[in-house]
């Protein structure tokens, strides 16, 4: 049949029943589109943002603490008002959201790669390797992730002189969140690997003499990816919250290049003087972002991996 031969990879992908269930669930689509919008806003922040908040020439200190454009005393060019240093709040939030998403992605990637690698090795090798890796994961899971992240970040900073804290803050945050996250991935992939390991196709691969690493890479890994994708989405939401929390506590991204959490911390200091917008808009953005990602993860789980609770 000429038709089937011509079918491209893309249209085969779109014909998939999982894609069908995704496009036919209004909630999943809405969450997906909302998440996509946040990513676009982050990606194109330098183009969309009316001001560049990091360019001293564009920041007027005397324009500081202005309310949103529609409120009394607001200026039309600052749609959502300005922060304490006179930066346009909308622009600062766009750049801040970009930073939050970037840190979240990097942290999840770190946790995912580390956790999946260890989980697959653990499940595939079994025996003592398995016991050691899973014990470490158990030990870490005794303590909630956010506390682990605060501690790793805090101790990481302790090793460095204070003057370098701001410069390296972002890396510490990424590493802290990523390291606090890996046991979840290790657990799920280990379970999935142990199921796959005993299936016939893996045994067949063994019989024809493929080396272990090739079996893991080509045969086992693709089959545990579904769980990993779902978990990554849900972890991404948690990572964004963790980053915001660390920054809010003053242990994360510094206020020279603020993330959403940093902006909320700054806004919180001005809450009592009635400057509600500096805290409100970043908080709203953060909550909407996390909510969309959570909803997307929830729906993806229903579609891709119903077993995962």
């Amino acid at each position: 049949m000429i038709d089937t031969e011509k079918t491209s990879r893309l249209s085969r992908f779109l014909d998939n029943d999982m894609v069908w269930s995704f496009t036919h669930s209004p909630m999943a689509m809405a969450a997906g589109i909302a998440t996509l919008l946040f990513f676009c806003a982050a990606l194109f922040a330098p183009i969309i943002a009316p001001f560049n908040p990091f360019d001293p020439a564009q920041v007027m200190l005397w324009d500081g603490k202005l309310p949103p454009a529609w409120a009394d005393g607001g200026l039309p060019q600052y749609i959502l008002g300005t922060d304490d240093q006179g930066r346009d709040l909308l622009s600062t939030m766009l750049y801040g959201g970009r930073l939050s998403i970037l840190v979240g992605l990097a942290a999840v990637l770190l946790g995912m790669v580390l956790g999946t690698t260890l989980g697959v090795i653990s499940g595939f090798a079994g025996g003592l390797t398995d016991v050691i890796i899973m014990r470490i994961a158990d030990v870490q899971l005794t303590i909630p992730g956010i506390l682990t992240a605060i501690m790793i970040n805090g101790f990481g900073r302790a090793f460095l002189p204070i003057e370098y804290h701001n410069q390296f803050a972002i890396y510490f945050v990424i590493i802290a969140i990523g390291l606090s996250d890996w046991p979840q991935f290790a657990r799920v992939t280990r379970g999935a690997t142990m199921v796959e390991r005993n299936k016939e196709y893996v045994q067949a691969a063994r019989v024809i003499g493929l080396p272990n690493w090739l079996i893991i890479l080509r045969h086992v890994l693709p089959n545990v990816m579904r769980s990993v994708i779902v978990l990554s989405t849900l972890s991404f939401a948690i990572a964004i919250i963790s980053e915001a929390t660390l920054s809010f506590l003053g242990q994360g991204i510094p206020s020279t290049t603020p993330s959403l959490g940093t902006l909320i911390r700054v806004g919180n200091e001005y809450l009592f003087s009635g400057l509600w917008w500096i805290a409100f808009f970043p908080s709203l953005t953060l909550v909407l972002l996390v909510f969309s990602v959570n909803l997307l993860g929830d729906k993806l789980r229903d579609i891709l991996d119903p077993k995962l609770r």
Binding site: T142, I150, A244, F248, L249, S283
Partner: protein, 320 residues
């Protein structure tokens, strides 16, 4: 028994790992000599000091000494507050424990009640509202919730205080704020903030478990026997959801302690969490190390207690 033994091994492992991390903090971060020696000290002085402090001993000997001190509750003196760390933690602990206790009560009462309601009447509009707002609750970071409550109830309405513990009553070793009206007014906002996340978790779990149990045969038989709805819902259904619910509540109390760090910072609540965050800001290593060890001990204690509770709640576990 074998299970319990395995658990104890794991507990031991957790404590050893954590104490080693805590010890490394103490020994390898910064140079303890720089803060102890006079400015005009010679290299020979430094060597003598190093000897006197035992810094030339092997790592294992030093670790042993650290543990011996830790067991006796000696963690050194806070760099920032110039106060023994143990004293510091002891004076801050009541505030944290009271906050966690009040939040736990709120989370359990509200979570179980709402969960049972949603489980019994899954189709009513009230259950659907509760359930969808609970997903929003999961997405609301603790500190955002805290700021929102402060803005509404403290800044705008001026009903409740925004920070501190209010009046306290000294009961000898324990300073409580639960005996004054002022104290109750102060604890309300932080406790609600802290309990929100746990409430939604408990709610969703109780609901799911109730839905599951309500389909069981023994519920149908109980109906056929003509028992009242109340006896069925609470005597039979809720009782059978208790094992998973206890696990989650146990784990969540751990979560409450973790998130108390954040809530205490938002509300400037003078507990151990706020102490820890301030210590991190000042790189006050003795406080950081002691807090780490203390929290790990607390978590281990909670998870052991939960395990033992199973034996009490479910006779089937005792047999297997």
């Amino acid at each position: 028994m074998r299970y319990l033994f395995g658990r104890l091994m794991q507990v031991g492992l957790v404590m050893i790992v954590v104490s080693f991390v805590s010890f490394s903090m103490f020994n390898f971060v910064g140079d303890p000599l720089s803060s102890l020696l006079p400015e005009d000290a010679t290299a020979a002085d430094a060597d003598r000091m190093r000897d006197a402090l035992g810094l030339n001993d092997s790592v294992m000997t030093q670790y042993g000494r650290f543990m011996a001190n830790a067991v006796q509750g000696n963690f050194g003196i806070s760099y920032r507050l110039k106060q023994p760390v143990t004293e510091l933690i002891a004076s801050r602990l009541p505030a944290t424990l009271e906050l966690v206790a009040v939040s736990a009560v709120i989370a359990i009462v509200v979570g179980v009640t709402a969960g049972v309601f949603c489980g019994i009447r899954p189709k009513s509009w009230a259950s659907k509202t509760i359930l969808s707002s609970s997903l929003a609750g999961v997405s609301l970071p603790t500190f955002v919730m805290g700021i929102a409550l402060i803005y509404i109830f403290a800044v705008t309405l001026k009903w409740l205080p925004s920070s501190g513990r209010g009046g306290t009553v000294d009961l000898g070793v324990w300073k409580t704020s639960l005996l004054t009206v002022d104290g109750w007014r102060s604890i309300l906002l932080p406790a609600i903030t802290l309990s929100l996340f746990q409430t939604t978790m408990i709610l969703r779990l109780v609901r799911a478990e109730m839905l599951e149990v309500m389909r069981a045969d023994y519920i149908k038989f109980a109906r056929a026997r003509g028992l009242t709805d109340r006896a069925i819902n609470f005597g039979h259904a809720l009782r059978n959801t208790l094992v998973p619910v206890t696990t989650v509540i146990g784990m969540n109390i751990g979560g409450l302690i973790a998130f108390s760090v954040i809530t205490e910072t938002v509300f400037q609540w003078p507990g151990t969490g706020l102490m820890f965050i301030q210590a991190v800001g000042f790189v006050d290593i003795p406080v950081m190390a002691a807090y780490l060890l203390f929290v790990a001990g607390l978590f281990v204690l909670i998870s052991l207690t939960v395990d033992l509770l199973y034996f009490l709640i479910d006779p089937r576990i005792r047999l297997s």
